[in-house]
């Protein structure tokens, strides 16, 4: 399989070269802005006392730093720690029971300027009289400071920041090499930091979720604008008592979420269905018309969406929190008034992206479609598995500020909610919706004709029949034949190819993170190709 993988990536690399290099236009935020951050990797130290080597995590919260050492383990509990304050003259305090690790900690403390390390690891000078050499992309190449020379080799993009990946330090009779695997750039202590005291808007009392979300009289449900207080409370709820290890993130390798979103085929096959169910909601069509770049640059729009969704699903807890805050912020800008009457929504009525009912519907289309396509493409799920999956999706919903009690309580309630929505006036295919559907399925290049044709067939096969008719999609014997052919081809491909090629590369990246490693070159190439980033959840 390796030659095949190599060939595929070679082709990607060649063609990507014609397009753009990931991160080439990235303008990082200054690393001085980092208030809570951590890096992890391996430190190798050569001094008069001999050679020492250890995996480590360096964490800085404000001025307080902790260097956690694990001599022979990439991840897990620290065997010794050094703690202190940056720019402070007091020596770092050492703790830990393991003699070998304590010995390494002593050697580090006695040879490295610990008060400067927090700056050098961020490629920053520690004092005003340092000499700093930068390249034409403003990346630090070298720092000379207090008798030390620090040379930087590679950099990694982590959220809005650019942090060093490899550095070599040379001081008086000391050499040190640092190889970093990953970093976190925020939300290490609290998901919402300063915003947590914001006033909350108490949601109105709910009697029965499905009838609240889909009123029986056909009217629009009561909007519940999400405010920061609600959002942060939900984030804290997740952060506080769900998963003990932030490295695993909100879901982790044993979750149904990872099992169902891991294989690429189910989500890929259902993309059109989920999208059309979403735009059947007049708010979504209007918001796309007025705010989205999906018509001008569909690839960029798709990449943005997938980066955030995949980070929330596969990222560490701090990464998921960072993504959630970004999405909330983006959604806050998406608001306006309805330009015309559409279904249950009156002309001139207000719409917002950060509104509970709308967000519940958008997410419902994702999870309902995912389960449907997973069962069609792979195997049936038990009721218990579906229930577990649904309960996990609630965590995802909370990342958007959706309160637990606003959501259908169980999988069966969730299915009832979906069916009620399909049959309600909340979903309406207007002329604008039809135009949007036409634009979304319009191939912008010759290479898109076949994939979009297939996507339209699969979408027609899986939409609720009356919505399929409203979208003016044919589903006769020819479409049924093609649907069967497409599903069969995907099943065979999935059977033949290894998981490394049929599972989401971000899933593989997350698995590598759990082991404290960087994911392999093939998955890195795929992430770069699909998401336009060299790393997402490492």
């Amino acid at each position: 399989m390796k030659p095949l993988s190599f060939l595929a990536v070679l082709l990607f690399a060649l063609l990507q070269g014609c397009a753009s290099t990931p991160d080439a236009d990235f303008v990082p935020v200054s690393n001085e802005q980092l208030q809570q951050w951590s890096v992890e990797g391996r430190l190798t130290l050569h001094s008069d006392a001999g050679k020492a080597r250890s995996y480590f995590t360096y964490t800085q919260l404000g001025d307080d730093y902790t260097l956690a050492l694990r001599p022979d383990q990439r991840v897990g509990k620290a065997r010794a720690t050094l703690t202190g304050k940056v720019m402070a003259s007091q020596p770092a305090a050492i703790s830990g029971d393991d003699d070998e690790a304590r010995q390494i900690a002593r050697q580090i403390r006695d040879t490295l300027p610990m008060e400067n390390l927090g700056y050098w690891l961020r490629a920053l000078v520690a004092s005003g009289d340092a000499q700093q050499q930068v390249d034409d992309r403003e990346r630090t190449e070298q720092i000379r400071e207090q008798g030390w020379q620090i040379r930087y080799r590679d950099y990694m993009r982590v959220n809005d920041y650019r942090l060093p990946q490899r550095l070599q330090m040379r001081g008086p009779d000391v050499r040190a090499r640092v190889d970093l695997v990953r970093a976190e750039t925020g939300f290490l202590t609290s998901p919402c930091a300063q915003e947590s005291d914001a006033p909350a808007t108490a949601p109105p009392p709910r009697q029965e979720t499905v009838t609240d979300l889909v009123p029986a009289d056909g009217s629009a449900p009561l909007p519940q604008w999400i405010n920061r207080g609600d959002f942060c409370r939900q984030l804290k709820k997740i952060h506080g008592h769900k998963l003990p290890d932030p490295r695993e993130g909100l879901f982790g390798p044993g979750s149904m979420m990872w099992q169902l979103t891991g294989p690429l085929a189910p989500a890929g096959l259902g993309a059109g269905r989920a999208l059309l169910l979403q735009i059947a909601h007049p708010w979504i069509t209007t918001a796309i018309d007025e705010h989205s770049i999906v018509r001008e640059d569909p690839l960029k729009r798709a990449r943005l969406t997938f980066r955030y969704i995949l980070t929330m699903v596969y990222g560490s807890t701090p990464q998921a929190m960072t993504a959630a805050n970004k999405v909330r912020s983006i959604h806050e800008q998406v608001k306006g008034t309805m330009p015309e009457k559409a279904g249950a929504f009156a002309k001139g009525s207000e719409y917002r992206a950060n509104e509970v009912n709308a967000m519940i519907w958008v997410q419902a289309t994702l999870w309902d479609t995912l389960v449907r396509m997973y069962e069609k493409e792979r195997h049936k799920l038990s009721d218990k598995e579906k229930e577990q999956f649904y309960q996990e999706t609630k965590l995802f919903a909370m990342l958007f500020g959706i309160p637990d009690k606003a959501l259908p309580a169980t999988w069966n309630d969730f299915i009832a909610y979906n069916r009620a929505m399909w049959d309600s006036r909340l979903l309406t295919v207007t002329d604008r919706t039809l135009q949007l559907k036409k634009d979304l399925f319009h191939p912008h290049s010759i290479w898109m004709i076949l994939p979009l044709w297939g996507q339209e067939i699969l979408t027609a096969a899986n939409l609720p029949p009356h919505l399929r008719d409203e979208f003016q999609m044919k589903y006769g014997w020819w479409q049924k034949f093609n649907n069967a052919m497409l599903m069969g081809s995907v099943k065979v491909t999935d059977f033949i190819l290894p998981d490394s090629m049929t599972w989401n590369p971000v899933y593989h990246e997350a698995e590598a993170r759990l082991k404290g490693k960087r994911v392999g070159w093939y998955q890195r190439s795929m992430i770069s190709l699909i998401l336009g980033r060299k790393r997402l959840v490492n």
């Binding site: 082709l11 753009s20 935020v29």
Partner: protein, 175 residues
């Protein structure tokens, strides 16, 4: 099947190459170029200011929020002080280079702009309004700044950064 897969991957990669377009860069001026322009060949010295508790309090009052960075970089030569300051517009920091002389602000440049909207603040006509501005007793600018429709938050961020540069210059150069 493997040949078919390769063909499929090839098609997808061609598609990706076709659709991928470079986003416009958000970097307008490098720090090195800003400093060259600021000091016009005069040798300058870089310094770091670590605000103490009292100064941080004054900064918080001026900005309306605490300063994120623990330290601030500045450069001095020939009676002028240059600052590189990050201030958040809506969600993303705007990186500004500001030169302060004896008569107030001499130059204000946008080094990097990261927001998706409000980019009008990078226009030189807007930025020139700050030339000659200094702080009055209320810590406001002595020169009125015309806003830009649709870029209100960015205009406010640039104005806050200009006031911060003046406050900090007064701190490092003394009365």
């Amino acid at each position: 099947m493997r040949v078919a897969l390769c063909v499929w991957l090839f098609l997808i990669s061609v598609l990706a190459a076709t659709l991928t377009r470079a986003a416009p860069p958000g970097r307008y001026l490098s720090q090195a170029d800003f400093l060259q322009q600021a000091f016009a060949g005069v040798s300058f010295q870089g310094r770091l200011l670590v605000p103490d508790a009292g100064l941080r309090q004054r900064i918080t009052a001026l900005l309306g929020h605490p300063l994120r960075a623990r330290r601030l970089h500045y450069w001095q030569a020939d009676g002028r002080t240059a600052w590189v300051i990050d201030e958040i517009g809506r969600d993303e920091p705007i990186t500004l280079g500001i030169v302060v002389g004896a008569q107030g602000i001499e130059q204000l440049k946008v080094l990097a702009y990261r927001e998706t909207r409000g980019g009008e603040v990078t226009r030189s006509a807007f930025l020139r309004q700050f030339n000659g501005a200094s702080l009055n007793h209320d810590q406001a600018l002595t020169t009125p700044i015309d806003g830009i429709t649709g870029a209100t938050l960015s205009v406010h961020a640039v104005t806050r950064a200009a006031r911060l540069a003046l406050l900090l210059t007064a701190t490092v150069t003394g009365p």
